[in-house]
């Protein structure tokens, strides 16, 4: 059944992609969305069978690689971890498909769009149901491709093309490490299937291994290589630069790929390899620090952006940081819990933002919005739900999952745990602030859009609002419903063997016994963030300007995204093209060809000219040359024979 669920989207993609002209726009929309809804239904059945019923299983399709011991199959693995992802991915994807019927209705190439969306879903499902590292890598690169295609969907826009290439390349940087990690796993374990590797991981805990001259604990090296891969896909600090630019793509794409599913693939990977991570303390430390730093750093940028989608993008980046540091403190189930709730409310926020953009004639700049909440009340209400969930206000979904992450970080009782906890608290404050800054700037205050635009503001059609409502229901209920199974008392039965935690690392358990102030602090912080946003954007709209001018250098630093793009351009992009030109003109042209073929040719021509000067036509000249030759030969003969 899970096999069918995985391949239905591929069928949809092929139908819409290759036969889009024959199906027509309508046909392509219905075929892909219908197949995805069916896949969702199947996934939910699989989820209940596997996660609730406890029937974890793997279906092998056929051999993919077989090179010596490097042997494994295409397979569909259904354990609790896969099943959770199956439901999240298919459900959000189905909602996005349906929503896109409305949102993309004016676009010129609808079948192509739906084909890409379905193709993405297929790759994502292959990723989450892989039972070996290479198939996971297949899905991993595949979603990267789909992301590239969808970011660059409007290929006439140079900025969209640039963003698409950037996304692919930055991801590839991470993928290099991922690929090396897989190679390392094969070298160390002699296999790349999950079962074999995870079973052997404890024995490898005390071995060391030398990678590029660095000798370290084997599993630390492997885990860090895999983590670098995850950093690329999950936009962690350093490899995050592609994510904000990815907002060039259509908004449903941002919701599906760059919020709910693909960017969480890195988190999924890290949870998947928990049996390795548990024996790789240095890797866990690194993950905690990078994750916490990302949560904080992205939130600061979110405070200053004006593009509504970019604010949400940085918010996504920040939330991914939370998930990562949860993994760093061994709270894998908490990370998955947050991944699940986040998928709901972040997709909701993005699609809601899309609804706003749709209503305001494709305007994305919040400085040109405002005062529309009465005109689009449904969207407004849904955005509130999304924001409440994001900020972690009880009883919305985000509260349950974010809270348990912060508590687990605190309960780890390690210095990096406290580091993550406090940065997480700071980020929570900023999250609440920028969420309500977004709400207030978008919906409240005086209208800043032109009269023309304001006169056309309208609520989105049902085809768009119904998926939003479904996601909103999830944003309200998912935390409350999932708490017990994901991180509560039922979690061991629920996760089964799909997550592995050493008994002494069980921070999710300890999270239930943290002091009261740790439990309450996130809520207080969130509420105060909302209040501050209210003060600055409703009661005293002059305040933001005053504050930014007071701390101008800091503001500019943050507003310009900590100058990461400029740094990378100067360090990588420009030198690469400069080097390319140099190596081509100088290396190939002047040096190799100059000394090599062209040089030899020139020398030969030169020699030939001299030789031809010798060809004087006088007999005695030739005779002389012949004589010289004879002398040389005789001398050589004598030397070699006698000597």
């Amino acid at each position: 059944m899970e096999v069918v669920a995985v391949f239905l989207p591929l069928a949809g993609a092929i139908l819409a992609g290759l036969f889009g002209a024959r199906l027509g726009d309508r046909g392509a929309q219905y075929v892909t969305s219908g197949l995805l809804l069916l896949a969702t239904l199947l996934s939910i059945i699989v989820f209940f069978d596997v996660a609730v019923g406890g029937n974890a299983r793997t279906t092998e399709l056929f051999t993919w690689f077989s090179s010596g011991a490097f042997e494994f199959s295409w397979a569909v693995r259904a354990d609790t971890l896969s099943a959770v992802m199956l439901v999240v991915v298919t459900l959000v994807s189905a909602m996005v498909h349906v929503y896109s019927i409305g949102y993309m209705s004016h676009d010129a190439s609808i079948p192509r769009f739906f084909a890409y969306l379905s193709l993405f879903t297929f790759f994502m499902l292959m990723l989450v149901t892989a039972d070996n590292f290479v198939q996971l890598f297949f899905g991993w690169e595949g979603v990267g491709l789909a992301s590239y295609l969808l970011i660059g969907f409007w290929y006439e826009k140079p900025s969209a093309n640039a963003a698409a290439i950037k996304a692919f390349l930055v991801n590839r940087v991470g993928d290099v490490a991922f690929a090396l990690g897989i190679a390392g796993i094969f070298f160390v374990f002699g296999s790349v299937t999950f079962d074999a590797v995870f079973a052997a991981a404890p024995e490898m805990a005390d071995t060391t291994f030398t990678f590029i001259g660095i000798e370290a604990q084997t599993l630390n090296i492997i885990a860090i290589l895999l983590f670098i891969g995850a950093m690329g896909k999950s936009a962690q600090l350093g490899l995050h630069t592609w994510l904000p630019d990815a907002m060039e793509g259509p908004t449903p794409v941002s919701a599906l790929i760059h919020a709910a599913t693909m960017v969480t693939a890195g988190v999924f990977l890290m949870v998947r390899v928990s049996p390795i991570l548990e024996f790789a303390p240095a890797a866990l430390l690194l993950i905690t620090i990078i994750g916490a730093a990302t949560a904080f750093f992205a939130a600061t940028i979110g405070l200053t952006q004006y593009d509504i989608k970019r604010v949400i993008a940085y918010s996504t980046c920040s939330q991914l940081g939370y998930m990562m540091f949860a993994i760093g403190v061994s709270a894998y189930s908490a990370a998955m819990f947050h991944l699940m709730t986040h998928a709901f409310f972040k997709a909701l926020l993005f699609l809601g933002a899309g609804s706003v953009i749709h209503a305001l004639a494709n305007e994305q700049d919040m400085r040109k919005m405002g005062g529309v909440w009465r005109m689009i009340p449904l969207t407004y209400g849904l955005m509130w739900i999304g924001s409440l969930a994001l900020a972690g206000i009880p009883p919305f979904a985000g509260y349950f999952s974010k809270d348990v992450i912060l508590e687990a970080a605190f309960a780890a009782q390690s210095s990096h745990g406290y580091f993550a906890f406090w940065l997480g608290i700071a980020a929570a404050f900023m999250t609440a602030f920028y969420s309500w800054r977004l709400l207030f700037m978008t919906f409240h205050g005086k209208p800043r859009a032109s009269k023309e635009v304001m006169s056309h503001v309208h609520e989105s059609p049902k085809i768009m609002t119904v998926p939003l409502i479904v996601l909103a229901v999830g944003s309200v209920l998912a935390g409350w419903l999932g708490y017990s199974a994901f991180v509560g008392d039922a979690r061991e039965a629920f996760w089964g063997a799909s997550i592995f935690v050493l008994p002494e690392n069980d921070t999710v358990e300890l999270a239930h016994y943290v002091p009261l102030w740790v439990q309450i602090l996130p809520i207080i912080i969130a509420v105060s963030g909302i209040v501050l946003a209210y003060v600055m954007y409703i009661t005293r709209p002059d305040l933001p300007g005053m504050v930014t001018s007071r701390i101008r250098p800091l503001y500019l630093f943050v507003y310009n995204k900590w100058y990461f793009d400029e740094l990378y351009n100067a360090v990588f992009v420009r030198p690469a093209s400069y080097l390319g030109h140099g190596l081509w003109r100088v290396g190939d042209g002047a040096v190799i060809d100059g000394i090599g073929p062209d040089g030899i040719a020139a020398t030969t021509r030169d020699l030939a000219r001299r030789v031809s000067r010798l060809q004087t036509g006088y007999l005695y000249h030739y005779a002389f040359v012949m004589l010289v030759g004879v002398v040389v030969f005789v001398t050589w003969y004598l030397f070699t024979q006698i000597g």
């Binding site: 090179s67 011991a69 093309n161």
Partner: protein, 509 residues
């Protein structure tokens, strides 16, 4: 088909076709048309015949199959001996499938001297197939060198503006290497008294000090063919000036002769020298991958860009071969096959545009997706295969090589893997400039999408790319026994010579 000299049939049938074309007389247009059809049919029948080799080939053994032996020059023990094993068999098929595709691709673009052109291509096919089948040094060398001549003519006569310069550069480079190889072959003959490759493969017993020189001599020839950095500069020029089909064969088959040479001669016959020089090959391969990828990034000419990408991809091949691991070697062979398909297809992709606009400059294009959606899709598939996206053929070879290299040297693995990023950079950048963007250039406003002939050319290649990517086992199975045997012999030889050198150190034992 038992008892038939199948390999000889596959080898020489094209030559028969060529001879037949030579007899065609009459009006020029008629001659041209007849020559095209005869060439196409000949190459198609050859391909069908070669399928018997594919289906008749017994997997799981490292023995040579379809062996034919005819005494040729008994005084020197020279025999006409043909046969294929798991390493060479698929190259034969690569040559036989690309030839009809090349002939189809030249259907309209070659307008003058069609008869001679087709003769050259069929002769080229004979020589290529013969090269991969020959199991005696003398016929091998004749085929190996013979390939140069039709290729030289194809570039020199039907090439672009600087065709003569390129043709000579190509000729001189490869000839210089070949002369040294001839010397090496002679030396092996005098040392061992045989030119029988089958015998030599089982252990030539050449003393290590001599191996070093012989290895260098072979290396000079094969490195130019691959081509490895820094003897690669003939390739971009040759590709740029060659007609499309010439580039296809050059990238598709001729480059593989170098890799095949390493596998057939350097590794099994000169194991000690191979172990000694492996670090050098790794170094050159790493440089090839990074250096040529960067250079490709700077190209303004589409063909040149793909030519440089070929050098980078072949860097994976050479590195994989010298890992002497199962994964590395199989990855290298697979990468050669994959590159044979993908690079060939990419040159055809460029050829489609060249036929329409007569320019290879990237800046002449842009926004083609608006007028040529099918073309854009085809280009996309081959671009992704070139980038090494999992699910395409490019991934399998590259990834196996990385897995193999990792076991030998992690630095090399890391540096090779950076090729994944750089390779994606130049290909995506190329694709963006040619396909995406607004369609503004006047001369592109009426450009036509792929016609039926072109679709027929690309269809088998797309099938191959996906088949090799999704189910590579059907190809890896063919080679694995031979590769295992190769590694086994190599390790045995190394162990032996180490024992000998130990024995030399302690004569008492």
């Amino acid at each position: 088909m038992n008892g038939w000299p199948l390999l000889s049939l596959v080898t020489f049938l094209p030559l028969v076709g060529a001879a037949f074309i030579l007899t065609i007389r009459g009006e020029q247009a008629v001659v041209a048309r007849n020559a095209r059809y005869v060439a196409l049919w000949t190459s198609l029948i050859t391909f069908l015949l070669s399928l018997f080799v594919w289906f008749g080939f017994e997997r799981g053994t490292s023995e040579f199959q379809f062996v034919e032996e005819v005494t040729w020059i008994p005084a020197f023990g020279i025999t006409y001996r043909m046969g294929v094993d798991g390493i060479s068999m698929m190259f034969v098929l690569l040559a036989t499938i690309l030839t009809p595709i090349c002939i189809l691709a030249s259907w309209e673009s070659v307008k003058h001297r069609v008869k001679e052109y087709m003769v050259a291509f069929l002769a080229l096919e004979t020589l290529m197939v013969g090269m991969f089948c020959a199991l005696d040094f003398v016929p091998f060398y004749m085929f190996f060198e013979g390939v140069l001549i039709p290729m030289f003519l194809i570039i020199g006569i039907w090439g672009g503006d600087r065709r003569v310069y390129s043709a000579f550069k190509f000729f001189l480079y490869t000839l210089a290497g070949s002369v040294l190889m001839l010397l090496a072959i002679l030396a092996i003959y005098f040392q061992t008294g045989t030119t029988n490759i089958v015998v030599l493969l089982e252990g030539a017993g050449i003393p290590p000090s001599m191996q070093i020189w012989l290895w260098l001599a072979f290396f000079a020839s094969f490195a130019v063919k691959v081509p490895m950095w820094p003897v690669h500069t003939w390739l971009p020029d040759a590709h740029v000036e060659a007609p499309t089909a010439g580039s296809v064969i050059l990238a598709g088959v001729l480059l593989k002769m170098g890799g095949y040479g390493f596998l057939r001669f350097s590794l099994p016959m000169l194991p000690d020298a191979t172990a000694f020089f492996a670090p050098l090959v790794f170094a050159l391969s790493v440089v090839a991958v990074i250096y040529t990828s960067l250079v490709a990034l700077a190209q303004v000419d589409m063909k040149k860009l793909i030519a440089y990408s070929s050098v980078a991809h072949m860097g994976f091949v050479t590195a994989g071969i010298f890992t002497l691991t199962q994964q590395g070697l199989e990855g290298a062979i697979f990468q050669m096959l994959s590159h044979g398909v993908v690079a060939a297809a990419l040159f055809l992709v460029v050829g489609v545009l060249y036929d329409r606009v007569h320019s290879r400059l990237i800046e002449k294009y842009g926004g083609l997706v608006h007028r040529m959606p099918v073309y854009a899709l085809v280009f996309m598939i081959f671009m992704l295969a070139s980038v090494g996206l999992p699910g395409t053929s490019g991934f399998v070879g590259e990834f196996l090589v990385i897995v193999g290299v990792f076991q030998v040297n992690t630095w090399v693995a890391l540096l090779m893997a950076t090729g994944m990023v750089l390779g994606a950079a130049y290909m995506l950048y190329l694709y963006r400039r040619v396909i995406f963007g607004k369609l503004t250039k006047q001369h592109l406003m009426t450009i036509k999408d792929l016609n039926w002939r072109e679709k027929a050319i690309f269809a088998p290649l797309i099938v191959l790319v996906l088949w090799m990517g999704v189910y590579p086992v059907s190809f890896i199975d063919v080679m694995s026994a031979s590769v295992e045997n190769l590694i086994g012999n190599y390790e045995q030889a190394i162990a032996q010579s180490q024992a000998q050198s130990l024995a030399a150190l302690w004569p008492g034992r």
